[in-house]
Symmetry: C2
Subunit: 254 residues, 2 copies
Amino acid sequence: MSGRITVVGIGPGSPEQTTPQASAAVAAATDLFGYGPYLDRLTLGSHQTRHASDNREELSRAGAALTAAAQGRHVAVVSGGDAGVFAMAAAVCEAIENGPAEWRALELEVVPGVTAMLAVAARIGAPLGHDFCAISLSDNLKPWDVIENRLRAAARAGFVIALYNPVSRARPWQLDRGFDILREVLPGETVVVFGRAAGRPDERIATVLLADAAAGMADMATCVIIGSPETRIVERDGLPPIVYSPRFAGRPAR
Amino acid sequence: MSGRITVVGIGPGSPEQTTPQASAAVAAATDLFGYGPYLDRLTLGSHQTRHASDNREELSRAGAALTAAAQGRHVAVVSGGDAGVFAMAAAVCEAIENGPAEWRALELEVVPGVTAMLAVAARIGAPLGHDFCAISLSDNLKPWDVIENRLRAAARAGFVIALYNPVSRARPWQLDRGFDILREVLPGETVVVFGRAAGRPDERIATVLLADAAAGMADMATCVIIGSPETRIVERDGLPPIVYSPRFAGRPAR
């Protein structure tokens, strides 16, 4: 019996935003590995085994999943959002590169999904409407000065910036430091969107100006989108405002 | 009767990668606006009216769609991939901001989708596994020197770069010029992925080194992903290679 491993992005939260391909990959698996809260979102059959693990254990989870696949199981490794954006696909690839030869012989499939910044952007208009970047604010796996350098470079070049992993209990000060760096480059009137749990019942979307942005507005499940100087707020009577970045935007920041 | 407008991202190509939310939005529309080839991918009922238009007519298409919505129609504006990434959501928001007051009173919904870079990345491994950016190479709406500046800034800061709209008949030289700029900053051994029509029957995914990358390898439907200096190729016997960007990557380019 030949095993296989599929890394599946199940989308940002609502089952309505999970692709049929991702649902089929979940249904076809004998063994499902993932961070507990992501596995909790799935309805599994009695023939399916659930292997929940804690956050920040990506590499050991990838190794356990590959071991099961090499034993002939049909394994799905489940990520929220997209599997390839600050998620499990890179950890599985890394484990394959550095693991036993038999892991390289496994069939590997990655199933993409709607990543958080796209779901948050959709709820407010089109803040990612021109060139943009995605930065993980976690310094667990890269030095903090690399993150600072990327924030400065992206803001100076006029990118819209989506921040993943903005805060956690172990990383309380990084987001405020990030806002301070961005305030050195971008006008205080730059639009900032805090998008939490987009598409889920506990969704919360808030728009503030960069001058007023603070880490307390975010938690682990928040994606923070910092506009470029051209990003616009369109106010509407009795309706939520629209935030968008014009397609023609191009002026680099000061 | 009160009209409404929904901007829908139907995903990169395969119906298996269209979310249930997007399919439902298409089914609920009385009038569908979009670039012809995207509308061709939909199965419409006899009660639904198809308004196909040419590429590069985003703003007039948005205006026509908003006019129909203001007349009480249930309008869907269809984009390939995600609605908010170099697609129709920003054009609709721009039209609302600059249009008649009644357009601001319309219910606007944006339905996200799997954007091309995510689908291409999934087919090859996890090349977007660390910080990355998305740049449209089209200089129809922004000056070319802004694009050059962003390419340099992104490469120097160590971002993986996804290029949308890399070439067209009207823009034949920009991609080769872009590669030249990147070769000034990045090692020739940097990995480049050309991903065309991911998930469709005519899909084509190719991996080359930056030293050998050339515009002839891309067409309008291609998304080009340029790795960072840390992006890795994992060769496998009898299986396609895996390309991934390690989660711990961080070293900025020279």
